[in-house]
Subunit: 351 residues, 4 copies
């Protein structure tokens, strides 16, 4: 298989480490550059990155010299961006202008009209915006983004419901893992045996991103979906995996069993295309009443499936259903999201 | 002040320990009997109770001989019951029949028609059912119950909203502390760094208890309140304090500021009567966006206040508001609930 | 490769689940029986075992009917025992008498004179006792045991020091993971944000097992090693991996660098024989001053390596060294220990 | 009682907050200045201090304007210093030179020859160095310091043993709470379900401070005690309370019962003088084999007692004993330590 040359932007941070780790065993992408801030540039990856993820740093990356995030010096077909939003706003455009395809986990460009915000199982057709983007921006590269981790998790569970029954309202209360805040992230005295009922900007992101993802391509932009999405975001002392209690109001009435069937049988384009990182079942439905649980279920489908449990009637909403959904925030919600987007780009001929 | 003789039923369990501890410094109640199962009876309290609460066992209880839960041998004006539901179903009636006032934290009798289910700030007028109860049951004693810990917490926050604006719908997602399950309770491997999205019978209790508490006395029983209450209950790795993300639909529109004012200014009958355990402010409204938090706020008002934060619009519901509320499950939601009910009984002349 | 038929005794418990999981992908052993208590017998494994380990129950075991732990009905060359000590005392002998090789993680027979207590990298020559055992007991089967999880971890680190410099004294303070107590094990209110400075019988086991493991075969029994081993065992809120702060007094003086070299270069018989579960490096030496850590390092070598860090002088002891060692308690200290013993049995012709 | 005017230096940090909280209800000290870095100066305490301790900020401090740590503008008899070491090195001398008594929790001056490093129950006679200090430095103020939190805890337990039997060697393995690192301190991903076997500079501090504290006044300086102190410091996921597994070698043999009696009966000068913050029993000996525990025992004696458990023979050391000791790191090991030192200064006429 032809290998694409891949740069990792923001390679020293936690999501960047996870991307590097996943790419180190990826059949399509070959890491040719590990890029980070000026402070890290020039040092070996081993020295520059305080390695915080559980698996070991891949041996062959240890002595790679970290480069600055500059398109000039980097030889890449694709750049995976795990940059902070402010840096991403500048750097990603520079790479796209230099002809590089950018698959970004950063929030900087997500809401721009000609930038696709994609979950491959949910709205792969939004990639069509790339042609608009290239024409308008006058570049040969591209920028594609994945949503915030909290959004990815319930959006995957909501997609089969939306397809089969239509969705009017989503009320989601999240219980988010500490890794979602990066490293060093949350102070341990705010975390151990505690819950913090607030995550900066998170509820706003969830609301606006969901409307775009479920929207439809209307000419040169996305027409937002009409569903109202209301989020209450909490940080809980788990290490990995966002748990979300979701109440939805559907357009058409559906019983719990019908809903579970729709979720269980759901397959998206990545499954049809057999993309490398696509899980066999994007949505796993569990019948035990005390599942899903972060410590036991977060790695299903290699961290790329979401697990749904406790599907039942929601009496407080019209045509209401409620359930719990769990997904890996660092894989399905970040590193794996950007990589699956890149695999879809490759399959669709954008690389 | 005249002191009432008090028995603690189920004194060796975690809630029983907390009741004993609170009564050990109470001006109105004097512990005359520590009662528990046959297995514990005859042993000293020190030996019988594996003491698991943070403060020390009161020195004067250590060598008290634990008695069986039998009304015959116990000399008491009031009995505080922290029994498991099955035992409570038998024992509490026996005590009431023997002329003892029973203030129960157990679920056994909560939903019986002539048994008041009371939060003193919310529905003190329900104590009027005691006359019905005495007549029907033919006893001189009485049984009064307090709700499940999860219900108490959001019900206190909802009361001022209900009074001022009316409540149509409540959707509550709880993040409940481990102490809510007693001791030994939840296995540590289910708890540490984990969330369990299920608590046996809890969602059902919340729904049915809330309707009764907010109901109105209609002749010899309570007419349930019409609001729909929908709960999703989760266990999170905190030690004390149930956090609850609440979305409400009101009868009349109310902005966040109006709602906060109503909560902040709310005072109930216990405050007016100056009951010993009544907090000055039953509902404390916090303005910091990352509060309330279990480790920092659960002991406000001696554990008898609930703390509300993040009051804001709920776009997904008609006349919608959402907020987070925190309350001590072992104090406001259990031991202190039973004691405040007893103080109200005394103030109203039922003792 | 010839496959041996394997029974798992105590298959529904946490260590039994882990053994079943490891055997489900093992090239030499084929699970032919999942055995447990009478209560579980006759039910499917899926129903009988509350599955608590992180990976999924292997699909092909789900509908296997759990059998009683009776040698009569079980067709096996080898039985892996994860039984509680009391049951193990009876059942393991029955299997051995029936001609089955028993590799046991239970403590029941560890200290019996003719039963080898083996860590394959440390004292493989103790397997010679099996001939004595067979003769004395008059059976064709055998019982071999692995030590307690706490012992395995520091014994592996101490072995290269013992070989190179001699060991006089070991003082070990453990910080043990919750999974070491099985399921349900430790109550969450004893665990979350807490330390318990006591584990029933653990310090005694550590002392006596270590003397036997490092002892030498003297005729028909093991002559205990003379080193004094003193343990202080603590339970801390980690999920997996026992951390141990170790101070040793050596026979010959050795600097930290020499000690690290000895540990790093250490290879035992399993490495030489290339046993399936043998890690390439039994002892991994880490140079970062804040490692090893349970969440990041416990799975090195597939959970079969131990990680040593912070090797430095111990001024308080003659020829003193101190270090921290981490090992997986459920793998290297339990399930993997029993399996590696079985692989050694096979390689040595005892199966 | 005459009230001394008190400044808190470093009032916005976690230890500073705790000092302010303790002084807010102290009969001898009246807070006249809350001082912090330039960044905080000029803002109200409410705005400048992100309040992280569990009790509420005292109402009367909320609108106090934070001042710079400058002796010129501050009117105080005594300054409590919770400054970082680098700032303390400059500021504390400035205050002493301006005639203020400084009771410091900072490490900056602890090891200076003419600066007492005092635990009032252990070495109150070291305050005599103040006369030397004043003469040499030519100031009317003074600097007195308390040790590092880890040292305080085991030193209190070791004092009665040292008095009665003599101490030759101390090997201590600590399991330290997260609050010991201040706020934000340890990253939650390093803390939750993890142990970190390293705390910067801690083991060195423990060794050198212990020798000074147990030393004797020899003319104008302290002659270090000869005992060898060896520490292994670990961070564990507890919120408050350092647990320490201690092995000691005594000069004279002592059984566990004798040792417990010596600890239980121990009273120091603060107890004899009846100092306000002095606990009735500096060392509480617990008989239950699973105590002390951080969540249940850390607040004994108002957080000023240490709790000792599991006293037993240490076979690995000559005349050996081992035990576990727990103490509050933020109270007995920091804020309360500085306040008790100040109370002793007042009682001894140094204020």
């Amino acid at each position: 298989m032809k290998k694409f040359k891949a740069a990792v932007l923001g390679a020293t941070g936690m999501v960047g480490q996870r991307i590097a780790l996943m790419l180190s065993v990826h059949p399509q992408f070959e890491v040719t550059a590990l890029c980070a801030s000026e402070r890290s540039a020039g040092r070996s990856y081993r020295e520059a990155a305080k390695w915080v993820v559980a698996d070991e740093m891949p041996a062959r990356f240890r002595d790679v010299v970290v480069q600055e995030c500059s398109a000039k010096n980097v030889d890449a077909d694709i750049a995976f961006s795990a940059l902070p939003a402010a840096e991403a706003a500048l750097v990603e455009k520079e790479f796209a202008a230099a002809g590089v395809a950018v698959s970004s986990n950063a929030s900087a460009h997500r809401m721009e009209e000609d930038v696709p915000l994609v979950i491959p199982e949910v709205n792969p057709e939004h990639l069509g915006l790339i042609d608009v983007q290239r024409r308008k921006r006058g570049w040969d590269g591209l920028i594609v983004t994945n949503p915030n981790c909290t959004t990815v998790v319930f959006a995957l569970a909501a997609k089969p419901l939306s397809d089969a029954f239509g969705v009017k309202t989503i009320i989601v209360t999240s219980m988010q893992a500490l890794s979602g805040a990066g490293y060093p992230g949350v102070a341990s005295l705010d975390a151990v045996a505690n819950v913090v009922p607030f995550i900066q900007e998170e509820e706003e992101k969830v609301g606006r991103e969901c409307g775009k993802i479920f929207g439809r391509v209307a000419g040169e932009k996305i027409e937002r979906h009409h569903a109202i999405v209301s989020a209450s975001c909490n940080r809980v002392p788990t290490r990995e995996g966002h748990m979300e209690s979701v109440s939805v109001s559907l357009e058409k009435n559906a019983g719990a069993e019908e809903a579970k069937r729709a979720m269980r049988e759901f397959r998206g384009l990545p499954q049809k295309l057999g993309l490398h990182s696509a899980p066999a079942n994007p949505v796993i439905v569990m019948e035990e009443n005390d599942r899903p649980q972060p410590v036991r279920d977060v790695m299903r489908g290699g961290g790329m499936s979401v697990c749904v449990g406790r599907v039942r009637e929601e009496k407080a909403l019209e045509n209401g259903l409620k359930f719990t959904v769990l997904g890996s925030n660092t894989i399905r919600g970040a590193a794996g999201a950007a990589i699956l987007n890149a695999e879809l780009l490759a399959a669709q001929g954008y690389l």
